[in-house]
Assembly symmetry: C2
Homo-oligomer: 273 residues x 2
């Protein structure tokens, strides 16, 4: 199988500046070719949103919105899939979501299951499991930032057949990048963590310093690339999705067959049980 190219788009969004951010996203993508372009969490709006009405005004609706239309155009233009974090307004609630856009296809979404800190003031936690979608023969799922702490998140997607877990993030702590190596190993999948850089501040609080270091990890626990911690950067990484499909650690050990569902259940008990 030929390689699948992931473009890690490590940006510095400007808080509350939707149009500026969308332009920067396109500009940064312009010189690059890839099968998938990945942007950070809340890439269209910035992170430290606090006011519901204001956030809603910048949010996308599942059926569309200026950001989604823009990203769909970008997907068509680049003939590639695009994943970006954005606020999603749906059923009267705001979700910290990521959207997957593919040329000629309707957008699909993941809604963050585990909200971090003051995100809880604004967003509703996701109300359904992460799903797996296909693009150019590769199966991918999405999770967002703090979801990394919960091994169940990646587990569900890996058992649904994901080759790659795409992980838009706005990280401020230092442990995630190393932990994603473990998420790759324990599930036999690739992961692509795309973090932002720069600083933002909730009113009256210390600044949040986002830590970059976007990366791709392999099913064998290798870190293929690590972007700078404080610069806007793009890197295209080519992976071989077939490496995520063997699941054999030794000739006698298959990652999934060795799982003890008889003891601790299935990753999604309601569906699998």
């Amino acid at each position: 199988m030929s390689g699948f190219r992931i473009a890690l788009m490590q940006t510095r969004p400007v808080l509350g500046e939707l149009e500026v951010n969308l332009s920067l996203m396109r500009e940064l993508a312009a010189p690059h070719a890839a099968d998938l372009f990945v942007y950070p969490e809340l890439a269209t709006t910035g992170y430290a949103l606090t006011d519901f009405a204001n956030a809603r005004a910048q949010a996308e609706e599942p059926a569309g919105g200026s950001g989604l239309e823009f990203l769909q155009e970008l997907a068509e233009e680049k003939s590639a899939a695009v994943i970006a974090g954005l606020p999603l307004h749906e059923r009267g609630a705001l979700f910290n979501a990521s959207a997957l856009l593919r040329p000629g296809m309707a957008p699909v979404f993941y809604r963050k299951l585990h909200l971090f800190y003051r995100e809880k003031d604004l967003f509703t936690p996701g109300d359904r499991p992460p799903e797996v979608w296909e693009w150019r023969g590769l199966k991918l799922g999405m999770m967002i930032c703090y979801d990394w702490v919960y091994p169940e998140t990646a587990r569900i997607m890996a058992h649904d057949g994901a080759d790659l877990i795409v992980h838009p993030a706005n990280l401020v702590l230092s442990h995630c990048q190393r932990a994603m190596v473990t998420r790759s190993l324990e599930n036999g999948v690739f992961t692509a963590t795309v973090n932002r850089i720069g600083e933002e501040r909730y009113p009256g609080e210390d600044p949040l310093v986002f830590t970059g270091g976007s990366q791709v990890t392999t099913p064998r626990g290798e870190l293929t690339v690590s972007l700078p911690v404080a610069e806007t950067a793009v890197r295209v990484v080519e992976i071989d999705p077939a490496q995520a499909r063997g699941k054999s650690l030794t000739t006698r050990n298959h990652l999934f067959a060795d799982r003890r569902a008889d003891i601790y259940g299935d990753p999604l008990p309601d569906r699998d049980g």
Copy 2:
């Protein structure tokens, strides 16, 4: 709360030499004081056992055996808990087990859930979840070596209240030590991985080189100590069990309360559900 002292006993067992190994275990412990002495996986017998009758002859029975009696004496002598990996013969089967001995108390066991490579020829996989026991105010659970790959193992014990996950190992691959930092972080627990050193060989195969590097990780993802990769070594590490009890990553994030059991179930669905 005063500190709880864990002695990491990184040994080099001699294959098939029960009496020699027990003597070495005591000798190595002699100069040290601790609340808990931890030895590697299959510390009493060595690792590359292949013949059932031979392994059974060196195995312990739940009600006793020369190794268990010895370890119980060691526990009384040191006025400490002792954990060691050993083969356990029970109900006609052999388990790759670890035993917890405490002064004045009956031994309790964990039977390895996930068997690695040729262990499958000899051992029966454990048939019950890991449990949590108490010693001097600290709650601990046990898992063995390759169990580290399965996040469910540590998860079950953490949710049963474990402060410390004790992890006897005979590691030959290189990823475990870093992954245990993730196990600590995601569960807010201490882990103590005690690995062996030296080489063994299954007949007709390349040698297995055990990689030492015994360590303790903290609920905050710190590595407190890392023993040499190729030497017998002892290190006593003092931990504060209270650090494993807050489970708060931020003022708004509680590791367990943020878990989405409504989506992916409880760590032990049959018991909790």
